[in-house]
Symmetry: C2
Subunit: 478 residues, 2 copies
Amino acid sequence: MKKTVLSSGYAGKLFEQIYDYLLDRIRRGEWKPHEKLPSIRSLAMEFNVNRLTVFKAYQLLKENRIVEAKDKSGYYVRPDGSLPVDSLHDPIISAYVHESHLSEIHQVQAEYVLSKSLLDPNLLPNLYFSEYVKQVFDLYPKMLGTYFTAQGDHELRDALCRYFTDYHRFHLAADELLITCGSQEAMDLVARALVKPRDAVMLERPTYSTAIDIFRRQGAAIVPVEIHPYGYDLEQVEKLMQAYKPRLFYLNPTFQSPTGYVVPAEQRKRLVELAERYQCLLLEDDPYRDIYFGEEPPLPLFAYDTAGWVIYLRSFSKYIAPGLGIAIVACRPSIMNYLIKAKLLSDSGTPLVNQKIFLHYFFSERLQQHMEKLRIALAVRKDIVEQELSATDWQWNSPAGGFNLWVKLPETVEIERLLSTCIKQSITFVPGAICDPLKEYKSWIRLSYSYLNEQLLREGILRLVELVDGGSGSSKKQ
Amino acid sequence: MKKTVLSSGYAGKLFEQIYDYLLDRIRRGEWKPHEKLPSIRSLAMEFNVNRLTVFKAYQLLKENRIVEAKDKSGYYVRPDGSLPVDSLHDPIISAYVHESHLSEIHQVQAEYVLSKSLLDPNLLPNLYFSEYVKQVFDLYPKMLGTYFTAQGDHELRDALCRYFTDYHRFHLAADELLITCGSQEAMDLVARALVKPRDAVMLERPTYSTAIDIFRRQGAAIVPVEIHPYGYDLEQVEKLMQAYKPRLFYLNPTFQSPTGYVVPAEQRKRLVELAERYQCLLLEDDPYRDIYFGEEPPLPLFAYDTAGWVIYLRSFSKYIAPGLGIAIVACRPSIMNYLIKAKLLSDSGTPLVNQKIFLHYFFSERLQQHMEKLRIALAVRKDIVEQELSATDWQWNSPAGGFNLWVKLPETVEIERLLSTCIKQSITFVPGAICDPLKEYKSWIRLSYSYLNEQLLREGILRLVELVDGGSGSSKKQ
């Protein structure tokens, strides 16, 4: 484990240095278009690094269209390699996004969308909602002409404060809440305000792939932590905290994405103790909490935190009003000050309209009734997928909540090849490697049962199983 | 000029290095709490830098509560100086925001708000708007349950595309438009996607202070460009582009904030040529275009650009619907790709509700009629301020549009002292130094006439003039 981490940590840093070194010299014109670049071997000697490291730098230059490779003979400066538009962006993120191509998968117009961990819009009480909203505009006739603050509407923060206190036993003041435009903005604000380049950041593996992108863009050295059906190996977590002094651990302990695993209450308490001992912030992402199929999940880590090391991130867009994009961050004032400063520069605040609509909808009778129906509808869809998969030799742990199934396919199946076949057949899913900071989990996929209606879901899974049994993506076929 | 720029460029870099060096050693515990730190003199010798540079680093450590200064005897490690929450953030931004304290000024609850370059909400057709919005929810009953894309609603982009083509002679496709949550998010996305640490970025002086914060946070070396009532000194602009190869020039050529100056059409054409020749992107911020008191302003720079070096940023929140927070970025695909990638990570997109409401309101008959009234109302308020100032020896250029008056006070007046006196009297304004990357313009202030009604505006200016005449902030008083 440790070895992997170290290499991932340092390799990342080194190959980027070499990337920058080469890019600068090309831009300064020391190597002209069409000119041949030093061999991997010679650069590896020059920098006294592994050839693989130089190779990675060259790969990145290739992806960013700065150089081109000519078989056998080496790398050459592209004629247009010095145009700014080819070199404007941060290599860390662009290379990564390129690798992960999650956004590409989401852009595919497929009939059987098993890749989107999003709620089927037909499961929302849209018509009722639409009528309801009109009352909100009667309540605040001047809403659209009102300026909003960076931290968020006070009425909404007061209401959420009471909610978190009543339902999650938080000890909280309204000033310890920040309203953001969705959970991604919240994660990004935390990363920008609290993580510096080269800081170590712990991520679960597998994890929410966007988290990998966000923290890598911030220049963090990623320290992966396995998550298991029973939670984490806390001894390993402690060893990692000791070894890497991480600034922050991003975790999704409740119906985790993609696995659906739940970290037990006992581990939550101990995690908070570890965080305090090793001064490692815990960023607790909790978007699926209300989507439980059996009993309610354990309390958030934030409820156990007294020293202020937990930052609680709660998104409601997943199942309340995707069109509103509202998320909430709870943290202590010392940290809140930095988040507000970051928010002040990244946008002037979350639009008031969205906050007021959310406020009155979220606390309505109607929504609370609706949540019950929603849980049942999603449990049914999950069962459908599990029924259809029961005939296969695929492996998964049946999730007790959330939107996703984390499935292991036979090792003979090449996931990337399967995906391209599926896309041709109008089926999409998420390859496991995208959810892994180390890009492994080659035989795993994430299947979301939240987006399709029951019939399409059943059909989609059936077709997927057929394609795998039919040998698509099977390595035998090579 | 050049000298200032260089020193600002390098000093910034150096003092941050020294800051990081000291911070790391304090965190590693090499200097314990209460321990005395090396003298400025010795560090200046150690690093072979100017003492002022070391002083700046220590100032920053002091601001960030890592060290404390004891008169005469030097700097000491604060007992809590090693707590992460004191050292989590990016020194560039925090120091700057601290310096500029613009947000602090805006947080003051004053009766005479001359500091906010925002529209008086009572000038908006709020009640009509509120009714109008309800129709939008009838049009899109499922809107709140609909997921939105990173680039923005296609219907809105199509409509804006036609608008920009008809009114500004843009040659544009819907895919060359990005919808953001307000202009600040747009600026931030451009900075993150296109500016790397240590890139040179040209800024007008004076300029919109948030722009200084955003580009400094990105680690850019700021290259200031004077703006005059007649525009820029284009020879100087060319010299700077030659000397510093800036990645980008952020400019606000139409009713510029804070000055209200307008860059003439002839200069716009030449600027676009210079941008192309020196491969310097032009980020054209255009929030005041529709607020003209006489004839319409010249076409945006974007209209003259054929090679794709202009990024056009148009915010409508200033005067259409602050509560919606909608801004638009127009740029060519090569750049749009990077902005979309950045947007995908910073939030998943601008909420659909806001876009649809904006779409139907912006293109309504009613709004176009309203704009005419708005221009008259603002012209009247501007005249009020100028009447009240006519008796003084203060200097300003009467703006032909926008929200602000850029005023030079007698040099005997100490602006910072005047501001604190004013705040006690419930009056706020923006000190000129905040709008200057070099922190000069010690005798200038920005007075916004957009936020107060006519009576409060007149009273506020009268009181301000009295306070200055009464000698508040006058250095004689020291």
